[in-house]
């Protein structure tokens, strides 16, 4: 996989997310974000890798940007909003905790 600017997908033309028929995870499921360290584009931010969260909702399906961006073969996969406790992300803080929610692709998650 390399940088192929001619094959970049234009986000301006992205259709709405598809409907997830049989998603692997359901709202309320505990999931762990895979620890990965790719050299290419990914939508899985480093600050959630390896952290356990809870699926808040199933957003739909989309092509994995980590592959689709480069024109590699891919298929629609479920996208989930996953809810993380600030203490799991950052450790104890001086003030009250908060919640961070991210949209993560099925590829990025494993059961926890």
């Amino acid at each position: 996989v390399g940088w192929q600017p001619r094959r970049l997908r234009s986000s301006a033309k992205s259709p709405p997310l598809g409907v997830a028929v049989n998603p692997r995870f359901r709202p309320g499921d505990r999931v762990r974000v895979c620890r990965v360290h790719p050299a290419v584009h990914t939508r899985c931010p480093r600050y959630v890798r390896g952290v356990v969260g809870v699926v808040e909702r199933v957003q739909g399906t989309d092509l994995l940007p980590d592959r689709a961006t480069y024109g590699l073969p891919t298929y629609p996969e479920p996208v989930y909003a996953v809810e993380f406790d600030s203490q799991d992300l950052w450790g104890e803080s001086d003030g009250p905790p908060w919640t961070v929610l991210l949209d993560l692709f099925d590829t990025d998650l494993e059961p926890a």
Binding site: S11, R43, Q59, V79, W98, T99
Partner: protein, 209 residues
Amino acid sequence: MSDGQDHDDGGHHHERPASPIELRARALEALLIEKGLVSTDAIDAVIELYENDVGPQNGAKVVARAGRTASFSSLTARAAIAELGYGGMEGNTMVVVPNGPGVHNTVVCTLCSGYPWPVPGLPPSWYKSAPYRARMVAEPRAILREFGLELPPETAIRVWDSTAEVRYLVLAERPAGTEGWDEEALAALVTRDAMIGVSVPMAEQAARS
């Protein structure tokens, strides 16, 4: 687009050297036109669209229409978005996140600058800045305080990081003292910052303006 060669017209228009980014944009535009990839009409149409038709006024109408009912809800806001016909570029999948008693939502895009263009309009530059993107997920209360929003410690803060193609719109709580207000009056309260969740609508703001 100005060609940067304008002469001083009676003391009102002072020439200033173009910045490197302006020069680069101009060179790109000239090349795209020369190669027949875009037309000047198309560029003008996009600029006109974002200057006149897309902006926080759209989102304000959505939130206000949702607020006609007894309580704001994400269902009515989604219906309002559909009813008002907003969508398209950077807004194909919009999710409305409603604030409620003791719940406050905010939006960020840590990876880039994902933002629901059709509803609040183009993102402000601070939204795309590295400090906002880094700090909103790591210390939201400190950031909100800098925006002048002090939330009670017991308020649950929910920070939505727009990492995929979903774009988030915060549905503020209807401010106290707005009972019986019509859609137009409510829309006047809803600011761009309230749709990002770094501010909340205040009835007294409208009274002042």
